[in-house]
Symmetry: C2
Subunit: 182 residues, 2 copies
């Protein structure tokens, strides 16, 4: 055990909520999960075929309705596989912030450049925050509709809290760097 591929688990997790196409899975990833998890088409599509081969998901041809849409549904085995993975402690939580990395080596670049990295980061966070806030709004309203909403809300509130902290840090960091220039 504990050898589960992450991509299989995320996909099964999303399929545990609803049946989806590969494209829709990527969209969910880019919206609902993007502030704590990411995946590319290059891992999603092969993983979907693999999950079908292993009987953890089934593929249905949605062509009846329109175009070559392939719809995936989780199986009982898939649900058990997911549950087994969920029962294990999280093996890794990590950040990969290129902004922080560039800032760490700031002595090599000077304050102007360091400042512009912070400003770009700040702008990115300010742009994403409204989406999280509106998601929170909607989730709070429909809190009792589905059990999944409660957990979704927990992760959204994590995102909102950390994003606010990021903005606080940006303000302080900018001040610290600017002050030294004057």
């Amino acid at each position: 055990m504990a050898n589960e591929k992450k991509i299989d688990c995320v996909i099964l997790g999303l399929l545990s909520h609803e049946e989806l196409t590969g494209y829709e899975i990527k969209k969910r990833m880019d919206t609902a999960l993007s502030y704590f998890w990411n995946a590319s088409y290059g891992s999603i599509y092969p993983a979907l075929s693999d999950l079908v081969d292993r009987g953890l998901a089934v593929r249905r041809d949605g062509a009846a309705s329109r175009r070559n849409k392939l719809i995936y549904t989780i199986t009982e085995d898939g649900r058990n596989y997911l549950k087994n993975w969920l029962a294990q402690p999280a093996s890794k939580d990590e950040l990969r912030y290129e902004t922080l990395l560039k800032l760490f080596f700031g002595a090599e670049q000077g304050e102007e450049q360091a400042l512009s990295h912070i400003e770009a980061f700040e702008a990115k966070i300010k742009k994403e925050l409204p989406y999280l806030l509106s998601a929170e709004q909607i989730l709070k309203e429909h809190q009792n509709d589905a059990d999944a909403h409660k957990y979704y809300l927990l992760t959204v509130s994590f995102g909102i809290k950390t994003y606010h902290t990021y903005l606080e840090w940006c303000a302080e960091a900018k001040q610290l760097l600017s002050a030294r220039r004057g």
Copy 2:
């Protein structure tokens, strides 16, 4: 441009501060950078050989002093390569938090398990926080010794701020889940 491998840039960045062995690079990564960047031996050692081949670093045999220690130093070309990369905007900032991922799919596992994921996360953060706080202390005392310290301090304060927010969130999340049980 903009095709720089991340691993090359982190290594050159660390070498811009001081000459290091591959093992020491990994150690720096695991301590000073771990809360915003990570890398494995499997990427460090091949990258070092590659950097030497491309003239961005030089390898010196430290065997004179002891054992088969290979010490790496950044070259002028290496420094220029680093500066060029630093001048470009950060291409990606992302989290990869398995804890949040498992929590997102909480409906499939129930509140007990969700709670234990949060508790494990909380414990991990509480364990790491003191290291950041002591680093902050030391950096503040030696703030003016080297230019690099100022930038290091910026990233450390980012870590401290976000970790405190994580702990706040943990408390709220635990309460939310526990309240519903009673």
